[in-house]
Assembly symmetry: C2
């Protein structure tokens, strides 16, 4: 098959027609039909509802069988017990993909629900219908206008997210939106009676619109194929995996959630070690690593040049970096001599971390002059810049302005540097500074500079970026 040939899975993301089975006649402005239309889905939408003849100006049909044209895709927005009959309708109609949004199947742990799910899967398989779900949100693909929330960004990006959990898919899209991450495809696949993580991963490995893949995984149906799919992806792009349920407490919770057997920690540790997939523990971790993958070139080594505050903050930051697998070595003597010329009052604070200046006021000025000196240091591989807005509790009257000036100076200077740069801006909990901090973050992100909530998040993300590169080089 040529790389440009259409692939069977394409229809999952680019269906030409969609039926909403159980289209709501009462919530016409918020239901699936309205969501897809408002989001810009350009294919045919067929509302299916035997009780009405029209929904939102579109002709409604009693069943999919009554649709006069061919049908690519159907969403099951109906109670679980009605699913078998609907699936038979879909088979009869020749529907190619169904997304079973409905819950109430094996994830309940109840025998009759498990049987219902098995029956449904058998019908679909015999009839040649591919199934997403049940118990899932389905597909978000900005390019085709497929979505499960009207509030997702419409712009397309280069990140794919494959999530066993629908709520986590939703949560991650919004979280990522807050830091400017955009998606090629997001898949919430739930109980996975048919299409499973490995199917989506295999597709995404070859997907030219996807450059980074992230996964939320509780349990894996077919371990061997999952491993193979991840390996296939990793040959060409990074894969970040939040494997939930690695502890006894988490595994118990996972059984309740997606009926998944979480698998042993030892197996997963070996998996990450062998494959080079990037392991993370929280949704914030995923977004942090993606920011590094998107916006940083690969550091040549693990030696951090820490710029921002020296003193206690610097000592704490150095400890944090080393705990994340990095080093904060002294700068080369030439670098220190250079820095001493522009910040004589820093005393020994030119060693690394650099004590730029007392207060936020002088930060912008230092960035303009000092960052190029730090950039030229031969003893360090990349730069973390720390804006510690919290030192004065945000009480200075002009702090917001200072933060803004500092962010502007970074936007100007960072692109002129040769080494990778990450910025840590501590938000703090003070209402009177938080707006300025969030604004500075957005400014930096728009300039393509990765921003983190603190040195802990920054150092963890960069450390994972470095490890990914090391593993990729061995491959």
């Amino acid at each position: 098959m040529s790389p440009d040939a259409p692939r069977p899975m394409d229809i999952v993301f680019h269906p030409k027609s969609i039926a909403i089975i159980g289209a709501s006649a009462t919530s016409q402005e918020t239901g699936w039909v309205a969501t897809l239309r408002n989001f810009g889905y350009t294919g045919h939408i067929y509302p299916i509802n035997p009780k009405v003849t029209e929904i939102g100006g579109l002709k409604a049909y009693p069943t999919v069988r009554d649709i006069p044209d061919t049908l690519d895709y159907a969403v099951f927005n109906i109670p679980a017990r009605l699913a078998p009959q609907i699936m038979e309708d879909c088979v009869a109609k020749g529907v190619k993909v169904v997304h079973i949004y409905a819950a109430g199947f094996s994830e309940t742990g109840k025998e009759e629900a498990k049987e219902l799910e098995a029956r449904l899967a058998a019908t679909a398989k015999a009839g040649g219908v591919r199934v997403i779900g049940p118990n899932c949100m389905g597909i978000y693909c900005p390019a085709s206008g497929l979505t499960f929330s009207p509030d997702f960004p419409r712009e397309q990006g280069n990140v794919a997210f494959v999530s066993q959990s629908g709520a986590e898919a939703m949560r991650f899209i919004f979280l990522a939106d807050g830091v400017g991450i955009r998606f090629s495809k997001v898949i919430s696949y739930g109980n996975a009676v048919d299409l499973d993580a490995h199917d989506f991963l295999e597709y995404l490995a070859d997907d030219t619109e996807t450059e980074i893949i992230a996964c939320y995984t509780e349990g894996v149906g077919d371990g061997r194929r999952y491993l193979e799919a991840i390996r296939k992806c990793l040959k060409v792009k990074p894969v970040v995996i939040l494997k939930a349920g690695l502890t006894e407490s988490g595994a118990g919770a996972a059984v309740s959630h997606t009926a998944s057997l979480a698998g042993s920690k030892a197996i997963w540790d070996a998996f990450f070690k062998q494959t080079g997939a990037i392991p993370v523990n929280t949704m914030d971790d995923i977004s942090d690593v993606i920011l590094a993958l998107l916006h940083m070139s690969y550091p040549k080594g693990r030696r951090v040049a820490m710029v921002g505050r020296g003193g206690g903050i610097g000592v704490i930051a150095a400890d944090i970096c080393e705990r994340a697998g990095l080093k904060v070595p002294p700068f080369h003597p030439d670098t220190m001599s250079q820095l001493e010329k522009i910040i004589p009052e820093a005393g020994a604070g030119v060693r690394n971390p650099v004590e730029t200046t007392y207060g936020m006021g002088g930060a912008a000025e230092f960035y303009a002059k000092g960052l190029s000196m730090v950039d030229a240091d031969p003893e360090t591989d990349f730069i973390i810049i720390q804006l510690a807005v919290d030192v004065y509790g945000g009480r200075q009257s002009d702090l917001s302005q200072q933060v803004s000036k500092a962010a502007e100076a970074l936007c100007e200077t960072v692109p002129t540097l040769t080494k990778p740069v990450a910025v840590a801006i501590y938000t703090g909990g003070h209402t009177h500074t938080i707006d300025a901090v969030l604004e500075a973050r957005q400014k930096l992100l728009k300039a393509g500079i990765p921003v983190y909530t603190g040195v802990e998040a920054a150092s963890k993300a960069v450390s994972k970026l470095i490890r990914y590169r090391e593993m990729a080089e061995k491959r």
Copy 2:
């Protein structure tokens, strides 16, 4: 000595008169003199400045020798090189305590600066003058009106903070202010040529105004006395210690900062294990543990009842708890049956974590009915309530109102429960929800409910609280 007898160290916190040596004639509204007066210091203030006769309406003197009355305390707000002469003046005057605010001593690593510091210390010792510093911010004691920033809270609290770093002292006071923590005494002691951490700790052990002690420590001058002082404190109150410089990178930075030898990690690990002092890694950690110490009774064990979101968030949260040394076991079957009555749609999400309801809308209602059921569960020891405001990206129009309602319901219900409770509210980075989240946090904190930025922070803090209690019971 009777417990009510005045102690020699009292004068450090409650001096009857203070001279500001190097009082600024040009910054009369922001200098030390104005700061102390505006903050409410009620003793005599003597500005020392040979160039003027008056500062801010107070008579200025050329030297401390010229002050007509006795003098308890002097602040050295002058360049390091002038310090020896000033110290001789103070000895001659019979000053009891001097605070050397000035930097430029041993922390610079320069030989002449080290000699200067040693000479200064010798003069003070021979003359019977106690010294705080040099290179430090000195004392904040709301009860006496001593402060090093005009912006610190004036209300007194029951937490003492002993900090080797001045910037960390400042930063922590503001950080703590944001979550309602108030102080009895804060000490920034810098290079500690005379008064060292152990002197302050010994005093605070007996200080009836102090119920919790926190320390920021880079290096220790007299290891044996430090250990003894910590042990003395721990007999009667908890001690939280941020030992910075435990890694090679951090130790290097600490040498630059306070000229401290950081000590080996093995020794400090043993110290924490033996003493039961509470180890933390960041300033946020200190504040998190203090919130638990202030607002939570001691859990009887390590078993968490997790209330909030089930699903993926619940699985991730359960993993986080277990990594923090806690457990999230299934509820007793009776508890699950009870919960099923009020949240039938949760399915298996009544097992623990509890999937309260889909969205924030129903949270308040669940708290009113469900928390007492969870509270009665015999299989769990304390409750973590998770408000995951980020799931919908804060896009619902009424989210702020829902968050507010949820916080109100918690303020009403939590005080009726028998088990300790911690609340985790994830802030997220969305400007349109952050105000509502910060407001909800303040509401809960005012009601005496400890609030954390996430389950990670909450579980770490509670785990440390439990360990402290376990160690205290062995003592």
